[in-house]
């Protein structure tokens, strides 16, 4: 059957036959880099048009419908517009940091892509601390926001950056705790182990109510971490014009925009991997016939299907709920999500020790 891992294997073999190992590794790195950049571009285009269409339908509108069939090429036209725009750097700005910030945001997003398993045996770097790596690297993206906010020399940017810093630092806790509940059950941080452990059912089904609770907490926390509505205080159009990227224009703005959408994709991919089995098809216990039928759907389709489902849910949040106030935001984290997820983690530990999960 057609599979992505066959392609990568054959490329690797061909390269190793043709060159010495060092050069082959280098070439592979370059290929991976190009693929990642390509994926970014495609993801940006798809997610932006998806968001615009979803928001339109949820608000009883039509959305973009002029460029291309049903407006599907709208984001391509927007990208072209952004490419042709002048990239301004304000006079009072710290030029070096101002130009560095979007690049850092992009690099952090690229690094986050490394441990994600897109399909069976198709992963850039199956690092043994996968989940920890993701939460570590995602903290770099805070820095890029803080940097952008400071370097713009604009009070809106500074306020936005501070808000988003406070928000990301606090929501990282409950996101981390809900991820930890899966790690406790699996006993490994490696993403391939986590996917493998869901061979007889996804954790959200195997883990009873505690897993469902941590799934919900995870969704809420990552929505906050990616600065999306209802937690978009960092951007908050009505209060801060555009928050930390008020002063950005042209391609630099596009990089921030792209990084935001790629981050959404990544957190949804991680959520799909942890709770919904990643590329693992829907398997139910010992129903071998059923499991076998499900195996016919390629693993990459499973992964992308689940990820896009989660992205849709997060968009659904965005276009349904009003923005929180900053005190409500911190209340929600420190008084509700954190205590609940701490209690939940105790439950999960108990479950793991007693072997109550399937």
């Amino acid at each position: 059957m057609w599979s992505l891992s066959d392609i990568t294997n054959s490329i690797q073999n061909a390269l190793n036959r043709a060159f010495n190992p060092t050069f082959a590794t280098l070439t592979e790195m370059v290929i991976v880099g190009i693929c990642v950049i390509g994926l970014f571009a495609v993801l940006g285009l798809i997610l932006v048009i998806m968001e615009r269409k979803v928001s339109a339908y949820m608000q009883v509108r039509l959305g973009p419908n002029r460029v291309g069939p049903k407006g599907m090429l709208q984001s391509l036209a927007d990208t072209l517009k952004l490419l042709l725009k002048e990239g301004l750097t304000p006079d009072g700005a710290d030029k070096f940091l101002f130009n560095l910030a979007p690049v850092i945001a992009m690099i952090a997003a690229m690094l986050l892509l490394a441990p994600i398993a897109f399909a069976k045996n198709f992963q850039i770097w199956d690092i043994n601390i996968g989940v920890l790596f993701i939460s570590a690297v995602s903290s770099i993206s805070v820095i890029s926001i803080l940097m952008a906010g400071w370097a713009s020399n604009n009070k809106y940017s500074l306020l936005g950056a501070m808000r988003s810093g406070a928000q990301i630092v606090s929501y990282e806790l409950s996101a981390g705790l809900s991820v930890l509940s899966v790690v406790i059950l699996v006993g490994s941080l490696k993403l391939s182990d986590i996917v493998q452990s869901q061979e007889n059912g996804w954790w959200i089904f195997k883990g009873h109510i505690p897993m469902i609770i941590s799934f919900v907490i995870f969704l809420v926390a990552v929505t906050a971490e990616t600065n999306r509505a209802p937690f978009d205080l960092a951007e908050a159009e009505s209060e801060l014009t555009a928050g930390f990227h008020t002063e950005y224009s042209g391609m630099k703005f596009a990089l921030f925009f792209l990084a935001e959408y790629v981050n959404v994709f990544i957190v949804c991919g991680v959520g799909a991997t942890l709770f919904l089995g990643g590329w693992m098809p829907l398997h139910i216990g010992n129903w071998h016939g059923f499991n076998h039928v499900m195996d016919f759907i390629p693993s990459s389709i499973w992964f992308f299907g689940k990820t896009f489902f989660l992205i849709f849910v997060i968009m659904w949040f965005r276009w349904t709920f009003p923005r929180l106030r900053i005190d409500q935001l911190l209340n929600l984290e420190w008084k509700y999500l954190l205590p609940i997820s701490m209690f939940n983690i105790l439950l999960v530990t108990l479950m793991a020790i007693m072997g109550w999960h399937f």
Binding site: L97, I129, S139, I143, L146, E172, G187, D327, Q328
Partner: protein, 176 residues
């Protein structure tokens, strides 16, 4: 020179350069950012050594925690956007000497130490190994220090809660 060595020297140079820039720059915010880069490249060296866990913890603690705290305190400081005033020459010399002494101390330590070669494979620094060492009560376990540190954290948390509980009655509205 193999690729691996090149990468090591690259990371080491970058670490040193950004560390040097952190102390020489005139902008306090830039100093924080250079410090951040220096810490990140150290994490890179850990990755190079295949100590992924240590590297990730380095990033989580220093980048996600300490540097963000530093940046926050810079944000909240008055007039932090201006250039730093020029330091007195005496202070500069004193701090350079202090740094040099520290450097010499480390060098002396390194050169006095006898590095014995071993044919045993190094212990794999996997998470489960680290975890069982951390909570082990046998000879090489670190259960006692671990528990002492957690007591410290618990005390800090209780302190935070006590401070946070003392809210004036007036602003006790809003909520979720």
């Amino acid at each position: 020179m193999s690729l691996s060595t090149i990468i090591f020297y690259l990371l080491a140079t970058l670490t040193l350069v950004s560390g040097f820039l952190a102390v020489t720059t005139k902008h306090i915010f830039r100093a924080a950012i250079y410090l951040l880069f220096s810490l990140l490249f150290i994490a890179g060296i850990y990755f190079w050594m295949h100590y992924e866990f240590i590297a990730a913890v380095q990033i989580v603690v220093y980048v996600g925690g300490i540097v963000v705290l530093i940046i926050f305190s810079i944000f909240l400081t008055h007039q932090s956007g201006q250039n730093l005033p020029k330091q007195k020459l005496g202070r500069t010399i004193f701090s350079a000497l202090a740094a040099l002494c520290g450097f010499i101390l480390i060098l002396v330590q390194v050169y006095q130490h006898q590095f014995v070669g071993t044919i045993e494979r190094s212990v794999e620094a996997s998470i489960s190994n680290i975890g069982s060492q951390m909570l082990g009560v046998s000879d090489n376990g670190y259960a006692l220090p671990f528990e002492v540190v957690s007591m410290l954290l618990l005390a800090a948390m209780v302190g935070c809660i006590v401070i946070a509980l003392r809210t004036p009655k007036e602003i006790k509205e809003g909520g979720l």
